[in-house]
C-alpha cells in the first residue's frame, strides 16, 4: 500500500483513503462539436501510460475530499511530488531534478518519499 501525502491535510496517509483519478492536466475542450472524431478519441480515450514519471490526479476521497495532482514514478511507485489542483504542470526540468533527487536518496540508502 502506498503512503500518500495530502497537500491539503499536510500529512502522510494510507492509500485506502485516496482514489486515483487518472491523468492530470487534461483540459476539457471548449467546443467538442467542432472537434474531429480523431481529436475527440485522443481526448476521450487515449492516455499517457509512461514507464517512468507520470503526472496523475488523486482525490483524498475518505479525508478532505479534495483533488490534487502528483508526480509519481511508475517503476518504483514512489511519489516525487504532490501539489494542489490548479498549480501549473511541473516543467520537464523540474521533473528531471525530482528524479535526480530520488536517485540520490537511493544512493544514500534512504527509501525516498
Amino acid at each position: 500500500m502506498l503512503l500518500i501525502h495530502c497537500p491539503y491535510c499536510k500529512s502522510d496517509l494510507p492509500e485506502l483513503e485516496f482514489a486515483n483519478a487518472g491523468e492530470a492536466h487534461l483540459v476539457r475542450p471548449a467546443d467538442m462539436s467542432d472537434m474531429s472524431d480523431a481529436d475527440f478519441a485522443d481526448y476521450f480515450f487515449v492516455r499517457d501510460n509512461p514507464k517512468g514519471v507520470n503526472l496523475e490526479r488523486w482525490r483524498h476521497a475518505h479525508g478532505c475530499g479534495r483533488f490534487f495532482n502528483a508526480v509519481r514514478d511508475t517503476v518504483s511507485d514512489k511519489f516525487l511530488k504532490v501539489y494542489p489542483a490548479g498549480e501549473p504542470r511541473p516543467s520537464d526540468a523540474e521533473v528531471k531534478a525530482l528524479l535526480e533527487a530520488q536517485a540520490e536518496g537511493r544512493k544514500d540508502g534512504g527509501s525516498g518519499a
Binding site: 485506502l16 478519441a41 509519481r72
Partner: protein, 417 residues
C-alpha cells in the same frame, strides 16, 4: 524435433533420459526477417507458430526482453472460458476455446487443458439479471452457459457456502461446462518448441529499444540490445509494455497499465473440483493439479510497471474467499506475485493494423488474456500474413475508439476481465 510419444519415452528411459534434445533453439539474430514478433509470451509465440504452420511464413524472429513465458503468460490464474456478452467477443473467445480443445494434440505437448467447468456466482439481484442476460446472449451465439440454483451450484462445487446468512449470499450461478484451466507454462513452451522446429528464431534477453521506419513511414525493422534487426512486418504483442513500444513508433495507445495480482496456497489434496469466479467480490479460485489453490485478486488503482501490487488488494480477495469457502480460512498462502496488464477503455482487446504500415498490434487483453491465447494468436497471424483482419477480429480495431464502435464488455460486466 523429437516427438513426445510412448516409443520415444521408453527408448530415452533406457538411457536414463539423457538423450533428449533442447526443446527450442537459441540462435543469434539474423540481419533481416520477414516478420518480427515483439514479445515471447503465449500470444506472441502462438502468432509465430500459426504464421509458420498456416501461412508458410517461417523467416520469423520472436524477440523477448526477458525469458519466454516470463510475463503475464506465467503469471495468470489459467482460467479459460468464453461466456462473453457481445457477438464479437463470443466469436473471438469461442474460437480460442475450440482451439484449446485440440491444442495438446496439435502441439504434441500436453498443455493439461482441463474442462472442469467455470462457475460465475451471483450475489445480488443485479448479478442474477446480468448473469442471465449473459446466458441468453451466449446461447444465441452457440456458447454453452447454463443457470444453476444455489443448490445446484453447491452440488457442482461442494466447498461453496450457500447459507442465506452468509455475508455474500449465493443467489445462483452461471456455469460454462466447457470452461476450465490449462497449464500456462506448457502453452508457452509448447508453442515455442513447435515454432522453433518450423524455423522460427526465438531470441531471448533481447530488448527492443526502437522501431525503425522508412521516410515514407512504413516499418523497416527494430533496434534491440543485440543490434538492429530488419523486418518487413513487425507485430507488437507485449501486454503491459505495449504503450512503451508503440510510443517508439509515434503511436499513442488507448491503454493504461496496472498491476494485477495472483497467489497460490500450500498444496493440499483435491478438494475443489472446478473454477469459481465471483465478480462482485472479486475472487477467483481453482485448484491446480499440483494441489495448490490458485487465487486471482484485483488490480491496483494506479498506473504501474512495478510487477508488484499492494497487500490490501490481496487481503480484500482473501476476505471474500474465506467468506465463500469457510473451509479455506486456515489455509496458508505460499506465494503472491503481480503482472502488468494493459487495459483498454472498453475492456476488449485491440488486434490488428496500426496507423503505421507494416506495424501490427495485439494488446489490451487487460486482466484476462490467457484464455484467448490460441484464438488471439491464430487471428493475429492471419492479420499479419494477409495484411487484413480475420473476420473474427475485424471488430477489434484500434480505430474503434475513433468510430465509436466499442465492444463494451466493461459496461456489460462492470468489472475488468
Amino acid at each position: 524435433m523429437q516427438k513426445f510419444n510412448a516409443f520415444n519415452l521408453a527408448a530415452k528411459a533406457l538411457r536414463g533420459h539423457k538423450g533428449w534434445d533442447k526443446q527450442w533453439r537459441s540462435p543469434e539474430p539474423k540481419k533481416h526477417y520477414d516478420v518480427i514478433i515483439v514479445g515471447a509470451g503465449g500470444h506472441g509465440l502462438g502468432t509465430a507458430y500459426y504464421l509458420a504452420k498456416e501461412h508458410g511464413i517461417t523467416n520469423i524472429a520472436v524477440l523477448e526482453k526477458g525469458w519466454l513465458g516470463g510475463g503475464n503468460t506465467g503469471r495468470n490464474t489459467t482460467i479459460i472460458r468464453s461466456n462473453y456478452l457481445y457477438d464479437e467477443s463470443a466469436g473471438l473467445y469461442n474460437h480460442a476455446l475450440k482451439l484449446w480443445e485440440t491444442l495438446s494434440a496439435d502441439l504434441d505437448y500436453n498443455v493439461m487443458f482441463s474442462q472442469r467447468g467455470v462457475m460465475m456466482v451471483a450475489h445480488n439481484v443485479h448479478d442474477v439479471q446480468s448473469a442471465q442476460r449473459h446466458i441468453h446472449a451466449n446461447r444465441l451465439n452457440g456458447v454453452d452457459n447454463v443457470w444453476l440454483t444455489p443448490r445446484e451450484a453447491k452440488a457442482y462445487c461442494p466447498p461453496l457456502n450457500i447459507s442465506k446468512s452468509a455475508r455474500y449470499p449465493v443467489m445462483g450461478a452461471a456455469l460454462q461446462r466447457k470452461g476450465g484451466t490449462a497449464r500456462h507454462d506448457a502453452v508457452a513452451w509448447g508453442y515455442a518448441r513447435k515454432a522453433s522446429a518450423l524455423g522460427v528464431d526465438i531470441i531471448q534477453n533481447c530488448e527492443v529499444t526502437g522501431i525503425d521506419r522508412a521516410p515514407s513511414g512504413e516499418v523497416t525493422g527494430v533496434q534491440t540490445t543485440k543490434g538492429a534487426i530488419g523486418a518487413k512486418q513487425v507485430g507488437i504483442v507485449a501486454a503491459g509494455h505495449t504503450s512503451v513500444l508503440m510510443e517508439m513508433a509515434g503511436v499513442r495507445m488507448p491503454l493504461e497499465s496496472y498491476p494485477l495480482q495472483a497467489l497460490v496456497s500450500e498444496p493440499v489434496k483435491p478438494c475443489f473440483p472446478c473454477v469459481v469466479m465471483s465478480n462482485a467480490v472479486h475472487a477467483y479460485i481453482s485448484q491446480s493439479d499440483k494441489g495448490e489453490l490458485v487465487i486471482g485478486a484485483g488490480t491496483d488503482q494506479y498506473l504501474s510497471y512495478s510487477q508488484t501490487g499492494s497487500m490490501h488488494i490481496l487481503q480484500h480477495t482473501l476476505d471474500a474467499i474465506c467468506e465463500l469457502y469457510p473451509m479455506f480460512s486456515r489455509m496458508k498462502m505460499l506465494r503472491t506475485w503481480g503482472g502488468i496488464v494493459d487495459v483498454t477503455p472498453d475492456r476488449s482487446p485491440i488486434i490488428g493494423k496500426t496507423p503505421v504500415d507494416g506495424l501490427f498490434v495485439n494488446c489490451g487483453w487487460g486482466t484476462g488474456g490467457f484464455k484467448a491465447t490460441p484464438g488471439s494468436a491464430h487471428v493475429f497471424a492471419h492479420t499479419i500474413a494477409k495484411n487484413e483482419p480475420h473476420p473474427i477480429n475485424a471488430g477489434f480495431t484500434l480505430d474503434r475508439f475513433r468510430t465509436g464502435r466499442l465492444i463494451d464488455e466493461a459496461a456489460a460486466a462492470a468489472v475488468a476481465h
